[in-house]
């Protein structure tokens, strides 16, 4: 056997190190993305022997069919509810814990862990715990309601309330994550800025917040907003566990529609179009996130 040149050996080593990962990336990510894009223009059904190209038909169906439109509008509404509440509460908690750390680091750390717990917990299991808590007859929530003289509510079977109930669970699950990001942002604000603000007459907490904290947290806030949005767009576990998109499609979301149309009804072509719309939303948000990260790096 002829001995390989040094360059040849080097090339083989590179191939051995980076080749497997590259091949798997192509096979498991890039080829599938191309296929799903292509399928979204067909009427392909799982198991069918043939398919034909139908142009934009799947996309028009998604945006004109009442159920398809529900999936899109519900997802947007869910995201629009989760973002402000999750972020606002996370910021309040982060500021309170940041201040608390100056007089009791231990209590602050314990509470921080408590708020972060839902992030690590299994969402499907916790969704069932929420279901118990909100149970119309034996749940704590309704026991309290009826104790206070209000009528009992079945929050997960009420068409008007179900999406907001799921959003509340989404908020519950993401506050801890956003709190950690805000705490990091708060820790990075130099103390002397507060002293300077105080010298300039901003001595009330509210004034300090608007003159120092809020402007300095700007990049963090944007980053948190985009992350919360991309996470919320994927809402699936709570829907699949608690409502199956119901009642009457009132809690239908994009990823749940993609699952049901594709893997329950086997409409691969239509499900691919749903996938592409979901992807477009997430892609736009993630690209925005990269731009923010980049700006944050330049800023330093």
């Amino acid at each position: 056997m002829r001995r390989l040149s040094r360059a040849g050996r080097d090339a083989l080593t590179d191939l051995w190190l980076a080749g497997p990962a590259t091949v798997m990336m192509i096979v498991l990510i890039f080829v599938p993305v191309a296929i799903v894009a292509l399928l979204s223009f067909t009427d392909y059904q799982f198991g069918a022997r043939s398919f034909r190209f139908v142009g934009l038909e799947n996309y028009t169906t998604l945006f004109t069919d009442p159920i398809g439109r529900r999936a899109v509008t519900n997802t947007l509404l869910y995201v629009a509810v989760v973002i402000p509440f999750s972020m606002g509460l996370a910021l309040l908690v982060a500021m309170a814990l940041h201040e608390m750390a100056t007089w009791s680091r231990m209590l602050s750390n314990v509470l921080r862990a408590a708020y972060f717990l839902p992030v690590a917990a299994t969402l499907v299991a916790m969704a069932l715990a929420w279901q118990m808590l909100l149970h119309p007859s034996i749940g704590l929530f309704n026991a309290v309601l009826s104790h206070l003289g209000f009528p009992r509510q079945d929050l997960l079977s009420d068409r008007g309330l179900v999406l907001y109930t799921l959003a509340a669970i989404g908020i519950w699950q993401t506050i801890g994550y956003n709190m950690v990001l805000f705490l990091a942002g708060l820790a990075a604000i130099p103390r002397h800025l507060y002293e300077a603000a105080e010298v300039d007459g901003a001595d009330r907490p509210w004034e300090r917040f608007w003159t120092v904290t809020w402007p300095m947290l700007g990049p963090t806030t944007l980053f948190v907003a985009v992350i919360t949005a991309t996470q919320s767009f994927r809402v699936f576990e709570t829907v699949a566990t608690l409502t199956d998109g119901g009642p009457a499609f009132a809690s239908e979301t994009l990823v749940y529609a993609l699952y049901r149309e594709g893997f329950v009804y086997f409409k691969a072509g239509y499900a691919s179009a749903i996938t592409m719309v979901f992807f477009a939303f997430v892609l736009a948000l993630t690209l925005l996130q990269f731009r923010i990260l980049e700006r944050r790096v330049h800023y330093k």
Binding site: V27, I29, F46, A113, L117, V124, A125, R234
Partner: protein, 276 residues
């Protein structure tokens, strides 16, 4: 200390304590129901604590459904995915920072582009591919789609980029092969990145419901979330005690892991936010 400051602290402390109580409420209620005897569950009275602890719900959870099997499946799937992810990502990340080859920029570009793709997007084609290969309803179907973690490659690459290349050069002079350098020098150095990545990966896949719902219909292959969804579907309303016990058992490993290793968990999960 001024009174105003004291009042402010009292208000904000009350606020965070109240908030924490609400955040912890589902955990408390889950444990409480799982420990209550049936007659105390089906009551309209408000009681946080059971009057007597009833462990039979936990026994029932392990016998009514094959919870042990689900937990084992969860371990097999999470460990399988993590091992393959590291086997692929670490050498690739090393090559991307410590070696000069022509396709390097292209491969790194692919890693960055891959970060933009949520795994829901590739579900339909991968399902089709697995069906073609007759691999649906196998452990392979649960593990294979996740072996190429672009997030792992990115994380390790960022870490290796900070290590001075003199270190690896010295190892080469000592006659170590590149493969040996990757696993005996680079990987141990990257331990912090590996811990963060392991936390991220295990949490994501232990908790995942989407893919197991698609790739398997065989109950014997159910992962923990899939398993409790089966339990919830078959449960007619009388088994809520055992159901909450099963939910508590499934959540316990990660929650205990988090409480024991808060730093690693927070860092690992916070880093995961970079993934699109």
């Amino acid at each position: 200390m001024s009174t105003r400051l004291l009042v402010r602290r009292a208000v904000s402390t009350t606020f965070v304590l109240l908030g924490a109580a609400i955040v912890l409420l589902p955990f408390v209620w889950m444990l409480s129901v799982s420990l209550k005897p049936a007659d105390e569950i089906f009551t309209r009275e408000i009681a946080f604590l059971p009057t007597r602890f009833e462990w039979s719900n936990y026994v029932e959870a392990f016998t009514a459904v094959d919870l042990t099997r689900y937990l084992m499946n969860g371990v097999v799937v999470c460990v399988g995915i993590l091992v393959f992810q590291i086997l692929l990502a670490v050498p690739c990340a090393y090559a991307l920072t410590q070696r000069r080859f022509r396709a390097r920029t292209l491969v790194f570009g692919m890693v960055l582009a891959g970060l933009l793709v949520p795994y829901h997007v590739t579900a339909i084609p991968i399902f089709l591919g697995l069906a073609q290969l007759r691999l649906l309803d196998t452990y392979t179907a649960l593990i294979l789609p996740f072996v190429a973690s672009v997030f792992g490659m990115f994380l390790f690459r960022q870490f290796f980029a900070q290590i001075p290349s003199d270190l690896f050069e010295a190892a080469r002079v000592d006659g170590l092969s590149e493969t040996a350098i990757v696993w005996r020098i680079a990987f141990p150095l990257a331990w912090p990145a590996a811990t963060a990545f392991a936390v991220f990966s295990v949490t994501a896949h232990w908790n995942d419901l989407f893919w197991p719902l698609i790739a398997t219909s065989d109950r014997a292959l159910a992962t923990p979330p899939r398993g409790i969804v089966y339990f919830n579907d078959q449960e007619s309303g009388s088994d809520v005690g055992p159901l909450m016990a099963a939910a508590a058992v499934v959540t316990a490993p990660l929650v205990i892991g988090f409480l024991l290793a808060q730093r690693a968990f927070t860092q690992g999960l916070a880093a995961g936010g970079l993934k699109g």
